[in-house]
Amino acid sequence: MSDTTETSVTDRTEQVRSASAKVTRFATLPTVGPLAALLLACLFFSLSTDRFLTGGNLSLVVQQVMEVGTLAIGQTVVILTAGIDLSNGAAMAFGTIVMTRLAVGGLPAPLAILLGIGVCAAFGALNGTLVTMARLPAFIVTLGTLNIAFALTHIYSRDQTITGLPKTLTALGQTFPLGNTDVTYGSVVMLAMFVIGWYVLRFTAAGRHVYAVGDNPEAARLSGISTRRLLITVYTVAGAIYGVAGLLLVGRTAVGDPQAGQTDNLDSITAVVLGGVSLFGGRGSIIGVLFGALIVGVIRNGLQLMGVASIYQVLITGILVILAVGVDQLARRRRA
């Protein structure tokens, strides 16, 4: 055995690592796949229609995903803990009806907004409590609260669309110029929330705990993490985020719509999964989810710009969604 072999495995690996560390780190990022899929989709539509790659249109895509994108932030955190939230669209809808009705009824708009978000947070807290305290499966709990929120929305709104909203409520739907493109404030709010979510999940203890609980709840518990408190917090914060999504929706449509959000639960889960987050918890990045949400938005927008008939849009969306996650899978395998 020659002398050179005396360097331990540690040292050997350390050497190789430092050499190719940057490359690897990049390739290992769970967001590469979703990003690649997003860029491919953009490339495809840029080549298919020259209206796609304009500042105005890209800003529009972001604006269109702001509701589902924001919901997906809360959904991501819940799914990272190995949970699921079917109630998010319904809770959001109830929140918008609460804030718009109260505001139209004369309550100062900021207070109405706070109450609307608060109602959503309360739904989240209810979900979290049932999931942890009564140890019920998240799927059923949130299916139950979905029905409850849906019913309350229709009862409280008396099924009427609420119009004539004060300016404050629709402020986030306004735009400001960025270069020669108009950008909605709401888009900025969504992007900011993704950044905050990314920061918390990636750089704080609470974030690590979210991953740990989803990865191996027993290990998290044995490590002294209060899994119950964590889960209740997660669902409650997610609820509050849905409230913010509701505010963005009100900004965009300028009405309180009791029919809103009915397919948002599946849409937000789709963004999460397309973003590379595992439905089994503990794995994935929230930045991937932003790309996931944008993928869906880009597909819808691009097909529309290409003038594809609406039923064929559905067909092609089905195919493209599978392709997108296929690209992600390819990216993952390359680094395995």
Binding site: S8, V9, T10, T13, E14, R17, Y199, F203, T204, A205, A206, R208, H209, Y211, A212, D215, N216, E218, A219, A220, R221, L222, S223, G224, I225, S226, G282, R283
Partner: protein, 256 residues
């Protein structure tokens, strides 16, 4: 000398399997107490009760002479008890440093740390590296996911964690089962080091020679009860094994 940690008459039943049938335990200050027993004797159940991972159906636990009621592992951890579980209790998708510091992450000391609670990833990586180096377990990077480690490397992570953070009592459930000769030696050194720091250690192991080498006293368990406590000087290994398997009678009232 008053025991640091005591258990009296702990009982734990799973359906009709009785894992603990009224077991007692005393851990004296600064000692290494080995717990030996056949598979299924209730060793893991016993230490799970001591570390709050399991709530016994009956019995009392005393820490420094005062009764304690651990409702969860966090309670025991707060009391300074660190535990290596037999099934390791690691989060496979998280990296080594995150696993080591899970539940007691280090925050940055600057403004960002205080106001925005930002973790001190660098310091955790560095400290993790140094703890793991102590064990000479040969792992490349602290940012490697635990699921990519070999069986022994994984065990090294769990052992390093308990030794690094214990303030009162260290409990290790078969910490060397997956370890090689060299690595086992390191862990035993580490256990002695913990004793040197004045902390008592409970060590569960099937490796009788090692147990007799390192332990001050040996608690022998059988069918969910303590059947004997012996000192390695007084009793030879064969005798201990005989008691353990029921071939010889221990110095305690055995299972009725």
């Amino acid at each position: 000398m008053n025991p640091v940690l005591e258990a009296h008459g702990l009982v734990k039943r799973y359906g009709h399997v009785t894992a603990l049938a009224g077991v007692d335990l005393e851990l004296l200050p600064g000692e290494i107490l080995a717990v030996i027993g056949d598979n299924g004797a209730g060793k893991s159940s016993l230490i799970k009760a001591l570390s709050g991972a399991l709530i016994p159906d009956e019995g009392r636990i005393l820490l420094d002479g005062r009764p304690v009621h651990f409702h969860n592992p966090a309670d025991a951890r707060r009391a300074g008890i660190e535990t290596v579980y037999q099934d390791l209790a690691v989060a496979p998708a998280l990296d080594i440093a995150s696993n080591l510091f899970l539940g007691r992450e280090l925050r940055r000391k600057d403004l960002v740390g205080r106001v925005f609670r930002m973790l001190d990833a660098k310091r955790m990586q560095a400290e993790a590296s140094s703890h793991m180096r102590d064990l000479k377990i040969g792992i490349g990077s602290m940012s490697q996911a635990v699921e990519t480690l070999s069986g022994g490397q994984r065990q090294g992570v769990a052992v390093a964690r308990s030794a690094a953070f214990a303030r009162h009592v260290v409990i290790m459930d078969e910490p060397t089962a997956a370890l090689g000769v060299k690595e086992t030696g390191m862990v035993l050194d580490l256990i002695r080091g913990v004793r040197e720091r004045g902390l008592p250690v409970i060590l569960i192991s099937h490796d009788i020679p090692t147990v007799f080498d390192v332990a001050d006293r040996v608690h022998i368990q059988r069918l969910g009860r303590r059947v004997a406590v012996v000192e390695p000087g007084d009793v030879d290994m064969a005798e201990a094994v005989a008691i353990m398997t029921g071939a010889a009678r221990g110095n305690e009232p055995g299972p009725a």
